[in-house]
């Protein structure tokens, strides 16, 4: 069996790996503490492939740490929901530049490929070019975009899109919101308002997989202001190990629906905890 000393050595190596892969320090502390408990007393062969057994134990222990957050198949889940209600409302939110608008367009592309009709709300009425960006995606992918002028109330643009979808029998309403830093209380309140007015079935938090320790602060603030149902990590093509993914799962206890792995519409892949933890330990 693994002695306490073995486990100490093991977890201290693992701790360094996690922190070097951008898992937030406090989360790495907590994760390693849990791992320690799970690893003490585990049986390892005295001879033979000791390393493989340890590796497997570490993998399973780490999976165990995020056991309470299941992988959720967004397509299946939302299809089930469509049997009860229509349209299904999906809102994208998160800090500046992490990939909300692009991810929305990717999801719209995939939903349309499955035969669903999609309308998007250009509820970023703030950032230069935000409206044109979403409209251009709409043109390329072939989904309808409801926009308002720059400076318009984003909640009312989102609401208009919702009414439009109801009147015309669309399956999905995808709401794009302006990026905002968690430190800006006014903008966080505005996000809360959009959520109150449109009551999304899915509020999807979009984050950049390259985030460091700030992920922890972002998670704390965002969850204070808004409801988050699931998450999408972007730019994973730059950083498959991205420790911020573990930070967010561990802190927010919400499933990651997809990973963004490039800049084309097809670059949205289903997330699997198993594959991710494998990457993280690789």
């Amino acid at each position: 069996t693994l002695s306490e000393k073995d486990v100490d050595a093991l977890t201290s190596d693992l701790y360094i790996d996690l922190v070097e892969s951008d898992v937030a320090v406090e989360v790495a502390d907590a994760v390693v503490e849990e791992l320690r408990k799970r690893l003490v007393g585990i049986k390892v062969p005295r001879f033979g492939d000791k390393n493989a057994v340890i590796k497997k134990a570490v993998f399973e222990a780490l999976m165990g740490v995020i056991d309470d957050v299941p992988d959720v198949d967004f397509y299946q889940d939302s299809k089930r929901l469509l049997n009860e209600t229509r349209p299904v409302v999906v809102m994208f939110l998160g800090p500046n530049g992490y990939g909300k608008t692009t991810t929305l367009a990717k999801l719209a592309f995939n939903l349309q490929e499955m035969g669903f009709r999609v309308v998007a709300a250009a509820a970023d009425t703030f950032r230069a070019g935000a409206r044109e960006q979403l409209e251009e995606h709409g043109k390329r992918v072939g989904f309808k975009v409801i926009s308002g002028p720059y400076g318009a109330d984003p909640a009312s643009v989102a609401y208009d899109a919702l009414q439009h979808a109801k009147a015309r029998g669309y399956h999905f309403v995808l709401i794009d919101t302006a990026g905002r830093m968690h430190t800006d209380a006014n903008l966080m309140e505005e996000l809360r308002k959009i959520q109150r007015v449109t009551e999304p079935h899915y509020s999807i938090f979009v984050f950049d997989a390259q985030l460091g320790n700030e992920a922890l602060e972002i998670a704390k603030y965002y969850s204070k202001y808004v409801k988050i149902d699931g998450m999408i990590a972007t730019k994973v093509d730059a950083y498959p190990k991205g420790g911020s993914i573990l930070t967010f799962i561990y802190v927010l206890k919400r499933p990651v629906y997809f990973l963004g792995v490039g800049q084309t519409y097809r670059d949205l892949v289903k997330f699997s905890k198993q594959e991710y933890i494998g990457q993280l330990l690789a």
Binding site: I16, R127, A128, G129, A130, T183, G212, E214
Partner: protein
């Protein structure tokens, strides 16, 4: 030293109560500092070399009279970090010829286009005639984004709405603004695993021969900041850095490591989305933030 004592007040308070530094105290203190730096996204190898160096220096050098050893340790660390950034003196942005061509480079979403407009406004305010060029043919409506920003700040803009060839657009943009004092060329976002895009930015570099290549780094990014800088440097030189999203609570150790890698000087920071939310970089303030003060 007085001002420094003030900056470091918070950390010093924590470690007050021990009179002289024995080996054990030094160990504990350096562990605490290491943790602080790790939380600030400073990579482990840098963390180790900084604290080891600081500990070594404090053992060799006698702290000046009246300065408690602990305080001196922090001071040494502060000095090392400031040195890494090229000293306490803020680096100036100084166009040295006409037209002075600036190329912005960075990962997707790091803030290049916004920063292009911020820098243009900063320079226009100081009497320079500035032209903005958009070469991003990948992100939908990148053209509209910079055009709208240029209009807002009253600076001329060049771009091609449905352009396909970033290199050609860059050439025509620079040609178009050849009578300006400064030409700022914005580029599409790209990262270390996008080889075709890295080659493209090299081709833009060859086509317009920029006087200054500015790497735009998102302060909220961790270890990837340095990894991306390293990948970019294989394709083109990096002369200076602008750190964005400093209105977050991110402490900036990722950006610090990237700066260390490039040897470039940081010139500005972005502190919000607005074109005026742009400040000259202060090494002192930045290091204090990295150290958690």
């Amino acid at each position: 030293m007085k001002a420094l004592t003030e900056i470091f007040g918070k950390l010093l308070e924590k470690i007050r109560g021990v009179d002289y530094i024995d080996e054990a105290t030094l160990q504990e203190l350096s562990r605490e500092i290491q943790r602080t730096l790790l939380k600030a996204d400073v990579p482990l190898d840098l963390v180790k070399s900084f604290t080891e160096n600081a500990v070594k220096r404090i053992k060799e050098e006698k702290p000046p009279a009246g300065i408690p050893p602990r305080e001196y340790l922090i001071y040494v660390l502060y000095e090392e970090l400031v040195k890494l950034l090229g000293g306490e003196q803020p680096a100036e942005f100084k166009p040295t010829k006409k037209p002075y061509i600036v190329l912005l480079l960075g990962v997707e979403g790091s803030g290049k286009t916004t920063t292009a407009a911020k820098l243009a406004k900063y320079l226009a305010k100081r009497g320079y005639k500035v032209g903005l060029v958009e070469t991003d043919t990948i992100r939908p409506a990148a053209f509209d984004q910079l055009r709208q920003l240029a209009e807002k700040i009253g600076v001329p803009f060049y771009g091609e709405r449905d352009g396909k060839d970033a290199v050609e657009i860059a050439k025509r943009g620079v040609q178009n603004f050849k009578n300006m004092d400064v030409i700022i060329v914005d580029t599409a976002g790209r990262h270390r695993n996008e080889e075709a895009l890295l080659k493209e930015v090299r081709a833009i570099y060859d086509a317009v021969s920029p006087d200054e290549v500015v790497l735009v780094i998102d302060a909220t990014v961790g270890k990837m900041a340095a990894a991306q800088a390293e990948a970019f440097m294989k394709y083109l030189p990096i002369h200076s850095v602008i750190i964005t999203k400093m209105d977050s609570t991110a402490r900036g150790g990722g950006a610090l490591a990237a700066v260390a890698k490039t040897g470039a000087k940081v010139k500005f920071i972005g502190v919000g989305e607005d074109v005026d939310e742009f400040e000259q970089f202060s090494p002192r303030k930045f290091v204090a933030r990295v150290l958690g003060m």
